[in-house]
Amino acid sequence: MVDKITLQVLANHCRAAAENMAYTLYRTAHSTFVKETEDFTVMVMDRTGRVVAVPMDLGATWYPGMNYNRAIELVDEYRPGDIAFTNDPYSGYLATHAPDTHLWKPIFHEGEIVCFVGGHVHNTDMGGAVPASLSRSLTEIHQEGIRFPPMTLMRDGAFDETILRIMTMNVRKPALNMGDLKALAGALNTGERKILAMVKKFGAKGFMDGLDGLMDYAEHQARDILRGMPDGEYVFADYADEDGVDGNPCRLKLTLTIRGDEAILDFTGSDPQLGSSLNVPTGSDPRHTLLLVGVYYVLYTLNPQILLNSGLTRPFTCIAPEGTVLNPTFPAAVGMRSLTCARLRSLVFGAFSLAVPERMPAAPAGSSSIVNVMTTDERTHRSVIAAINPVVGGGGGMPHRDGTNGSGADAAYLKNTPIEITETEVPIQFTRYGLLPDSGGPGRWRGGLATVMEFKVFAPNSRITVRNRDRSIFRPWGTLGGLSAETSNFIINPGRAGERILGNTDIAIAEPGDVIHIHSPGGGGRGCPLEREPERVRLDVERGYVGVAAAKARYGVVITDGVVDAEATAALRATLRKDVHTTHFHFGPERDAFERLWTARNYDALTRLLAALPVHWRFFVKTKLFAAMREAENGGDVAAAFTAVRRDYPQVPEVLQAAE
């Protein structure tokens, strides 16, 4: 029997099982996705598939509140020794893009299932139209690789060879997939031994009741945090720069309603389902883990003692209407949902920033470019394909300190590769890898700086792919008087002949001698920069984090020969104080300009209108409406623009435009 004075013992044993599985998988997996990127998870679940424990050392951060139940139910029968699996984003909404393969194993004790253990690995490739199975340009799920609905992968401890042969036939790096699948199955078998030891120690009933106790405990902690927030309705929107290649902005909108110890996250007003692969499949699940990742961060930030399991999702209810970017219908492509998920997290952070401004940081950089190079080694004439460093940006200014430079917040799980290792293996030469001055949003607490990476290539037709590019148009926002941060960019030959500014473009071909420059966004600033101590600004200048010009223009601190001119600073700050903005958020000129046409009211009208159309019309009409809105004749009126679109395309179904 587990009671409150020994609940921590069970919590530790469950965590030990999760950590043990994670280390076993990490040790035995084959692919760099597992070994370097740590794009994997493992978990202990209860007997219905709700996650009860996850590792804290290794792996990705997205699934502590996951529920395997829908996928579990899609398999008819479970026997001891079985392992089931799926990678289909539309069956059970467990795998959220095709490269993610989830496995789960029922743990039997005396003929009854006492719990499940499970986990996922991101496979290097699952087949489909492009290597690695991921591209923004893909338009339907069938292009994104082979999909396996939930089915039995292992029976009586033996793999179903038919399934393995089908997978081997359809993917580009079958050995890596097989190695990782076996490693994950091995980790689940380790987990089974740990679970059975717990059943022996606590008794089957004590163990199962204890799992309920752990979820109740997490729920209690989450409710406690919500109770500490003022009741209210907090509305926020954030934009991905593009809804596809060279596309229009994609709005995500959240109405966060906090009542007592509960919260509703209503995503109505977010973009329609997109024609690119940026959709996030959530299956109308009111507690889908991808909708709540931002919430995990918020809860953990506000109480680092919180137990991470699905119990903490109970006070939250999500609404994501069907046929939208956050709840697409089959067969929408979903491969690059990670880009949208980053926006989804900053959306949640922004809404909570409105609820508890004094306790939340400004926006993190929110876009981590994953860089790959394919080039030729001039010494061997061999083609080399390699992952280079992820280019990650800083955290947002915090209530008590500056944002972390060069990484942090919701990107802190990423790792880099030493320059010396990359230069030894890949025929490129780095010219710069470090922090980008003046990139953090100015504030009482400055946003974390962006990272900049530059390298030179030497062979013709070198292909540079940069996945997850965003925030090169709309800036990470500042809060409470803090300013927005600098945007990201992707440039070939910056400041020299042959310069090409590529923004969010995710692939480029480089010529011999070309210099490739990629920088991330910075983190947003928090609090008015004029309140920052001049000495701290001076130190930022001395450290090269802020330039003398920016110190003067943004912070109002006049520095001459490395010394603060106190008098000039006081005078300048008095002048600048007249113009400080008073809004909660500072978005920067790009979003302000965009929202002059696309006001919240106009965008709401747009999403309402699109929601009334059949799903297959929505993205098409959105694109046409964006073009029509740019025409002066429509006067920035969505209804007029829609009429214009229907004039050009009479096939567009008529929509009764509801009054607001």
Partner: protein
């Protein structure tokens, strides 16, 4: 008569272990540390050794010292003020580190404050390529300007770190010479001299740690030499190293970074030797002090080595005995959160004020208080009479906490022990999963002041069937220093595919390593006994991002037997990761050489064989154990003789610790007076 003395400084105590040459008689003492007067405790200890055991300073022919002065300098951030010179364009390498941060679910996550802030980091134009080829000469004007700026800032020393300097240290050496000329008052360390290994962040961090602790460590060692000299100790002091070996003081003053983990490493060395004496091959060591617990695996008698052990906030990329440290010890504080869930740690009462029952001002319930309130402690003077045990204070603080939890004091004390043990349970699970070992084949060896208190409880939780408590569990680290070998590590990055073209490079690297190693042990260490060279390579499959160390036979390099090298790698890979890929390209990243010179090992005479007999308990005591009050046997360790047997539940009290033995364990004393505790199988 002559004596060899091993000394280990911990947070609360400094431990002495003295070994008489010839007779192998062992004497031990503990002295409270004197943080305000570093070094005084050493002289106190020497004095006490003479007083109690008649060991005259003039008879001390060998003095081996493990010290926390280096690691404390880092933890307390009291090191030197440094500047860093890097390749231009790469000034932020130490701030970015390897990006990934602990606490990855927190929006407030941050990296620890750097030891060198960005305003004392200067980029200088120069460039070497991965091949070692110079692509751009060192810009000496820029360097001179940087040195001028550094001098203006007022620093103690400079670290020089250029890209690919592990391959070609010429620019670093050139920079060092120029700095010596322009700023002779500054000390300089280059990455290629401290630890010339590929991976810029790791190599730079290692050099910075070295420079950061250098002035304090050098000062401490100079004072130590003087103190020993003043007492008439003829022995030149030796220092224990993170790699489990020892080096002399002059080397320690420059190569300071090598001694950062000296105490924890020599604990494992001592444990390995004790295990060998007891005939045990696979051991999980559990060294629990007041604030932390150190866990390590000994597999087939061999301590495990690794790189990346954490020192303070920083990873240490030198070969070190692999030890997992967790912030959970006898002083960890128990508390209840607002949901009524009992937690233990991470806050600790440390050595000051310490547990409430020590009567030194502690007012909150700790793990040690839970043990005391359960009746396990206080049956013999502790720590050689230097600590009193006040059961009433333990009862009071446990009582307070139990009132908050709405539980009985007994249930609360038992739950505190269970939670503390479960925290260690998590760490052991990570450790065994990392090594892929099965604990059923292992023996748990608890030592340190609090290890034997909790050892059996942890063994029971882990399903480890055997526990081995050494005769003197309180001084295992001090003993480890006494038996450690003189040992130096040498590395050369080669980064080549395992193909015949690489052979000249490998042979050249080997020759350099051998020359450096031999010079170190013969000239620097003055060791004139037989030297053992152990060759290995860090190898990986092409495309992997990490290496594994593979023992090599030198003849393979001479004979060009690459097949043997790659075969050794494939089988090592299989052993560690459960798979290999015999068709894949294999790379040799680093060549490593360990040179060591053996220290004479004591051969203490086994205790006379005695007929097996049941041990006679000193008395019966009342304890709370496994949910009930029980009367159990109390044994005094000094009374336990070779062949004695008894069964749990029981408590064994001794000067340096208390051993708690729950029901189900059978105890037996061996000829070395080790206590073997065997969990009866439940079948």
């Amino acid at each position: 008569m002559s004596w060899r003395i091993g000394v280990d400084i911990g947070g609360t105590f400094i431990d002495f272990c003295a070994l008489e040459t010839g007779t192998d008689r062992v004497e031990t003492i503990k002295v409270l540390t004197t943080p305000d007067e570093p070094g005084k405790e050493l002289l106190d200890g020497l004095h006490l050794l003479q007083q109690r055991h008649g060991i005259a300073p003039g008879e001390v022919v060998s003095f081996v010292h493990g010290t926390t002065v280096g690691i404390n300098t880092i933890i307390q951030r009291k090191g030197s003020r440094l500047a860093l010179i890097t390749t231009a364009g790469f000034e932020d390498v130490i701030e970015l580190a390897r990006l990934r941060m602990p606490e990855m679910y927190s929006l407030f996550c941050a990296r620890p404050e750097q030891l060198i802030p960005r305003d004392r980091i200067y980029g200088v134009r120069q460039r070497q390529l991965a091949s070692g080829e110079i692509a751009e000469p060192l810009d000496t004007d820029e360097l001179a300007a940087a040195v001028a700026a550094i001098r203006a800032k007022g620093v103690d020393g400079v670290i020089v770190s250029f890209l690919h300097a592990y391959r070609n240290g010429a620019h670093e050496a050139q920079a060092r010479a120029l700095i010596a000329k322009l700023a002779p008052e500054l000390f300089v360390f280059t990455t290629s001299e401290v630890w010339p290994v590929i991976r810029e962040y790791e190599r730079t961090t290692t050099a910075i740690l070295n420079g950061y602790v250098h002035p304090r460590v050098a000062g401490y060692l100079t004072a130590l030499e003087a103190a020993l000299g003043s007492r008439g100790v003829p022995a030149a002091p030796m220092l224990t190293k993170s790699n489990g070996g020892i080096m002399n003081a002059p080397t320690g003053k420059r190569a300071c970074v090598n001694m950062l983990l000296s105490g924890t490493a020599s604990g494992v060395i001592g444990a390995a030797w004790l295990a060998e004496q007891a005939g045990v091959g696979n051991v999980l060591t559990l060294d629990i002090g007041g604030t932390s617990a150190d866990l390590a695996l000994i597999i087939d008698g061999q301590p495990q080595f690794g790189t990346g052990e954490v020192v303070g906030d920083f990873p240490l990329f030198l070969p070190s005995v692999s030890v997992t440290s967790i912030g959970s010890g006898g002083g960890s504080i128990a508390w209840a959160d607002d949901f009524g869930v009992l937690k233990v740690g991470p806050e600790s009462a440390g050595s000051t004020p310490g547990p409430a029952c020590y009567g030194r001002g502690g007012t909150r319930a700790t793990v040690t208080d839970a043990m005391a309130a359960s009746g396990f402690l206080g049956h013999t003077p502790l720590a050689y009479d230097q600590i009193g045990m006040d059961r009433a204070r333990a009862d009071a603080v446990i009582g307070d906490l139990s009132a908050k939890l709405g539980q009985t004091p007994q249930a609360t004390a038992e739950a505190i022990i269970a939670v503390a043990v479960s925290e260690m349970f998590v760490e052991v699970n990570k450790l065994v999963a990392r090594y892929g070992v099965d604990l059923h084949d292992f023996t748990l060896m608890p030592f340190g002041g609090a290890g034997p208190m909790l050892g059996c409880f942890l063994a029971r939780e882990l399903g480890i069937p055997r526990v081995l408590v050494p005769h003197r569990p309180g001084v295992v680290s001090a003993l480890g220093g006494l038996i450690a070998d003189v040992k130096g590590d040498f590395i050369q990055t080669v980064f080549a595919a395992a193909v015949p073209d690489a052979l000249p490079l490998l042979r050249e690297a080997l020759a350099r390593l051998k020359a450096d190693g031999l010079a170190w042990i013969r000239q620097d260490q003055g060791f004139d006994g037989p030297v053992v060279e152990t060759l290995s390579a860090d190898m990986r499959y092409h495309g992997q991002s990490f290496e594994i160390e593979v023992p090599l036979d030198e003849a393979w390099l001479h004979d060009g037997d690459l097949a043997a090298m790659t075969a050794a790698f494939h089988s090592q890979h299989l052993a560690i990761y459960d798979f290999n890929d015999v068709g894949a390209e294999v790379q040799i990243v680093n060549l490593r050489l360990v040179v060591s010179g053996a220290t004479p090992r004591p051969r203490p005479a086994p205790a006379a064989d005695q007929p097996a007999a049941m041990a006679t308990p000193a008395r019966r005591i009342e304890v709370w154990l496994d949910g009930a009050t029980r009367e159990v046997d109390l044994h005094h360790r000094d009374a336990l003789r070779n062949g004695h047997r008894f069964s749990g539940p029981a408590v064994v009290a001794q000067q340096d610790t208390t051993i708690c033995i729950p029901e189900g364990f059978d105890a037996e004393v061996d000829a070395r007076l080790n206590l073997h505790l065997i969990l009866r199988s439940e079948a």
